[in-house]
Symmetry: C2
Subunit: 315 residues, 2 copies
């Protein structure tokens, strides 16, 4: 029961709780009034419950027991409470019906369900968190609610989603972000370099990786990765350029694998890229190399918009 | 100066000193009289020099200052002494000329050079250690010294080498072993499983991975890897089967990438696979799926044979 009922009083709390971060937003409708942060599901130092209610304590003191809406890995087996996957095709009504709702510390809590599908390659596929970003994207960009669109959600596990009249029809996951991090940070591919990052080296390295993948589209990635090391040993490539070359290979291959999906999109539609700004710029460049236009959307803002859309629809 | 000159006296010490192991062999010609072990170049607890001479001290006490022949990462920048790469094509005379020879603790020491080439994909490529195994293979299997043969050397950095009349003509590296280890041990792909390994699960999982790669030869690996996780979440695949499926995907893709090299081999020749027995069996199965026969050779024995061939040729 909110303790404030003035027009400016908040209506709910929306939280993006993924593997690495908890990002909480105090909302009045679609407006964000305040923010708070906490540890991700993969880095919990206490129970999810105590972390959440500690993080929102000052809001609760001022505004009472606001409803809490959460999305992301918080709903996974290793999260707070496991929420079964909704299956594709999934629209807002289905996602609303799949919410896990319960009371905790006198708050109404709702955790968004992830979504499963059989992807275009015939394999089972899952997402958790991205479905809420996609809801937010269709709320923020009404044009995405009509026709067939591909939405790119690059990250640890990059998702390529097909929307049809605002419904999540299917999607396909690529392991690009996690693969890059493992290879860049834990493999023998990059020589330790103490030189400061050089932007020109980075740009050239990334472009060279993209070009290499396009020229050798039929060569398995395993046969191209060792070049990252050999080019440093033999051609004197800098570690910065080599890291960017590796990124170009992986993002270039990720986009190559997504290209068949674009046959299903309505012609001439630009691709929304939902991700961190620097990563979105790399995907934008990789898509542009195939003549595909794109525009960037902020992932956290879309999660808030998606949760708010769920909170407002038919409650 | 050897302290024993009887017919049974050893002639030299041959050592395979890679990233993970030092494997020393007390030799009389091609016969191994005794063995000793030590840490790999990537796990040194003291200087390479003190580790080596500690490991052979009892041999030196008994047999005096035998010549020492070493191959592998011991000749890399992070090894004992850096030995520049010899370039392809490389025969035994070229490899002998490229040896780094010096005296240490009154022993004659020779460290084998690695080999560089421009691979079939137009990229620089390097090996260090495998060139000596290949020399050993041609010494052990005279048939490899005539005609054109592909030799598979699976491992952390798998090498596919083209031999022409016993000469190392070129080769191509795939990152299969390191990629598998990173994804199996450090990624989010495999759920932690306490169940004991199940051989049937392993075989079925590996075969399913091989089949998947053959059916989807044109799909980038990044778009297939997440299946390893999703099949556990949605289809109840066991962690053991999922790990083997991952192995099948990676080894299957490695072999797909090597197939164009086989166009250059003399028709009907079986492929020697130089590697650990279990890994060699997996590569043998992956090659057999493409109608290619193979046979296994022991890597360490070939290193000893290769160093012995170098020690005996024209010294």
């Amino acid at each position: 029961m909110p303790s404030h009922s003035a027009t400016h009083a908040p209506t709910h709390i929306a939280g993006d709780w993924g593997t690495t971060h908890l990002r909480l937003h105090l909302c009045r409708g679609s407006e964000v009034l305040d923010k708070a942060d906490g540890p991700g599901i993969g880095a919990l130092t206490a129970s999810p419950e105590s972390i959440l209610f500690d993080a929102i304590q000052s809001w609760s003191n001022t505004h009472g027991t606001l409803p809490i809406w959460l999305a992301g890995m918080v709903g996974s087996r290793n999260g707070w409470k496991e929420v079964p996957y909704a299956s594709c095709p999934a629209d807002i009504e289905k996602l609303r019906g799949a919410l896990l709702r319960f009371r905790s510390h006198d708050h109404d809590v709702a955790i968004a369900a992830g979504v499963s599908c059989t992807n275009r390659l015939g394999a089972p596929d899952v997402m958790r968190g991205e479905e809420t970003q996609i809801l937010g994207a269709t709320a923020a960009q009404p044009a995405l609610g009509r026709g067939r669109h591909i939405v790119a959600l690059p990250g640890t596990h990059t998702k390529w989603a097909l929307l049809e009249d605002g419904r999540l029809q299917s999607f396909q996951t690529s392991l690009s972000g996690e693969l890059y991090a493992l290879l860049a940070e834990r493999s023998t591919l990059l020589k330790a370099g103490s030189a400061p990052a050089n932007e020109q080296d980075e740009r050239n390295g990334f472009d060279a990786g993209l070009r290499r993948i396009r020229e050798l589209a039929n060569v398995p990635l395993t046969h191209l990765l060792f070049e990252v090391r050999a080019r440093q040993l033999i051609q004197g490539l800098s570690p910065t350029a080599a890291g960017a070359f590796l990124s170009g290979l992986i993002i270039g291959q990720d986009v190559l694998g997504a290209l068949p999906l674009f046959d299903q999109a309505s012609p001439g539609t630009a691709v929304p890229i939902v991700g961190a700004p620097k990563l979105a710029a790399l995907y934008s460049a990789a898509l542009a190399a195939h003549g595909i236009n794109s525009f960037a959307l902020d992932a956290t803002a879309l999660t808030v918009a998606g949760l708010t859309a769920l909170a407002q629809s038919g409650s």
